[in-house]
Point group: C2
Chain length 350, copies 2
DNA sequence: ATGAAAGCGCTAACAT
DNA sequence: ATGTTAGCGCTTTCAT
């Protein structure tokens, strides 16, 4: 069957063959001319290009990809695109991809493992040339990524990476970022600092918690298990966890949350309860979401250099795809701690 | 040349042909079996599927697409993904796409016309089955979209749509939303309401301005040209425009901005200047970005039902691609006006 | 129920 | 400098 457009305007796309016929030459010559390959007369090249333009010829990347065994497309899998951190990384990836003429397919898992698996399949079927991933909150199993590795294409993780796999990874030093934030909070005079953590099987949350614990230890503050709470790090979760703490009669004087969102939830709740931030209660988050600087008071947080991270990802991919990649390694970026009003208790106001 | 993986682990992907050989049958039979087509013996079907699973066969969507003349992929072009409105639309599109097993390529133009053009080319070359677009701020020319139309694939615009083209469009009633917001502001006692507008060649900004003007007119408030300012609707632009107004000695008592971001900029600036919101100055934005409900005071704004809009888009595409699309039409959703504290001046506090 | 053969559009090895 | 040929992996006629 000749595939014909259903009910549409029956515009078949112009092919290289059509051009060849009209020029009285062959597809190979046209192909060469179009791609500025050597071995085509100047005159012929001109004629080909002129006709191509005139006929609105558009190369079929699908066909070329099939033939060449690559699609010049990469897939990016992230939990969500509407987080400033992830959209920053994506912006960085796109910037480099655009320059090197790669297309980027962005997939959102919404932190769901089933979607993550599905998207891996889809991308592999689409024969993307590489996959860049940040894991979803639910992901505690990496079988689907083993498939990527055995397919032979580059696989690069960023931020939320799998521990047990020997793969390329690009990270920010979560431990250091957290350590510094909590140290500052302690210096500001907070004594009972609570922590909202994410799942322990994700490196970032584990490291942030370790940084928190290390800061307490360095200052000889005993760890109170009641003050360390795992939740799913949304605004609502932050609000609820805070409420539950108070309901249980547990009263910290500050909070370091592994996420800006749950920090915000807690902050709003405490304000509603009449606590003044930072005098009565200090709050710090993580990721430097934009809203953290708009709210009152502005929220102390940690910037992860998201755009830069994205650029590193794409550059690493480009290196890998050129075959210049050595053994899988890791790149660790330094975070930037942003001390803002939400943890700046003037001790005399205590 | 047999295309071989460069330096990679030389894992060639299993093909339908490999399976056929191992089963002593032909590619056509394997293909039929895999896709549950009729005309294959029950027994053979089982054997094929078993082997496919065992060998980790993965269909090559590129090859199938080339043969069938479709990619089962759609492209979405938006100004940016880190706006709640756009990420909401994308979520809606993805939800429906996922169910119907379509892949979605998301492209960000960052409001730049050159990128918009480039992405259209890329998507057409990738032979996507349809394109969904919301125009960039710079876009005042639609030639690149004419190419999409002449390629014969469905083209659907949402929110920011081109006026002069006869295409499918999905919108929210910006005029009504703006009209209602400004009416409320007037009822709350504001008399000199400024307006931040976007470029006039984009429908949404034109309509929002019209809604603003209509509200004034209905209340017999004369329009003051000095109070209507075009800027690029970022936080910084909002801040700057507000500053310039005051510097010129022009003092409105409220602002209705066509964007939440520029509304925020103005709000922050006014607060820094010591004005109380909403008592001394009222502020309203547009789009219901999430941050609008976190800031103090919460910002009056207009919700555009973004996710629903995305679903409409994808469903319309599915209809079109099945050939059930009639002449291009338009779908208009009702906005939801969210009156919040930033415009709730208690008149006695005046 | 199965197989043979052609071809989607393009590229690249191998002629000439 | 150009042409010929083969084939990427798959689907779909058209046999049998």
């Amino acid at each position: 069957m000749t595939p014909k457009k259903k009910g549409h305007k029956s515009s078949k796309q112009v092919t290289i063959k059509d051009l060849a016929r009209q020029l009285g030459t062959t597809p190979s010559t046209v192909s060469r001319a179009l791609r500025d390959q050597s071995g085509v007369g100047e005159k012929m090249r001109e004629r080909v290009k002129a006709l191509a333009r005139q006929q609105n010829y558009r190369p079929n990347a699908v066909a070329a990809g099939l033939r060449k065994g690559n699609s010049h497309t990469i897939g990016v899998i992230v939990p969500r695109v509407n987080r400033d951190f992830f959209s920053g990384v994506i912006a960085g990836i796109e910037e480099v991809a655009y320059e090197s003429r790669y297309s980027v397919i962005i997939c959102q898992t919404h932190d769901r493992l089933d979607k993550e698996r599905q998207y891996v399949e889809t991308l592999l079927s689409a024969r993307v040339d590489g996959i860049l991933v940040s894991l979803g909150l639910e992901t505690d199993n990496y079988d689907h990524f083993e498939k990527v590795i055995s397919s032979g294409i580059p696989l690069i993780f960023f931020d939320r990476v799998p521990d047990e796999m020997n793969v390329n990874r690009i990270l920010v030093d979560d431990y250091q970022g957290s350590l510094q934030v909590v140290q500052q909070m302690i210096r500001a005079g907070y004594q009972r600092i609570a922590h909202f953590a994410g799942p322990d099987y994700l490196n970032v949350y584990r490291d942030r918690k370790q940084g928190y614990l290390a800061a307490l230890q360095k200052n000889n503050i005993p760890v109170d298990e009641d003050l360390v709470i795992s939740n799913d790090l949304t605004i609502e979760a932050g609000r609820r966890s805070m409420q539950e703490l108070l309901a249980k009669g547990i009263m910290p004087d500050a909070l370091f949350s592994a996420s800006d969102y749950s920090a915000l939830g807690a902050l709003l709740f405490m304000q509603e309860q009449g606590y003044r931030i930072p005098q009565d209660f200090g709050v710090a988050g993580f990721s430097n979401e934009k809203f953290t600087s708009y709210i009152k008071p502005p929220l102390t947080t940690v910037d992860q250099h998201s755009k830069e991270m994205g650029k590193y990802c794409m550059n690493l991919f480009l290196q890998e795809v050129k075959g210049e990649g050595g053994a899988p390694g890791r790149i660790m970026l330094n975070p930037e701690v942003l001390i803002r009003e939400s943890t700046l208790r003037k001790t005399d106001e205590k």
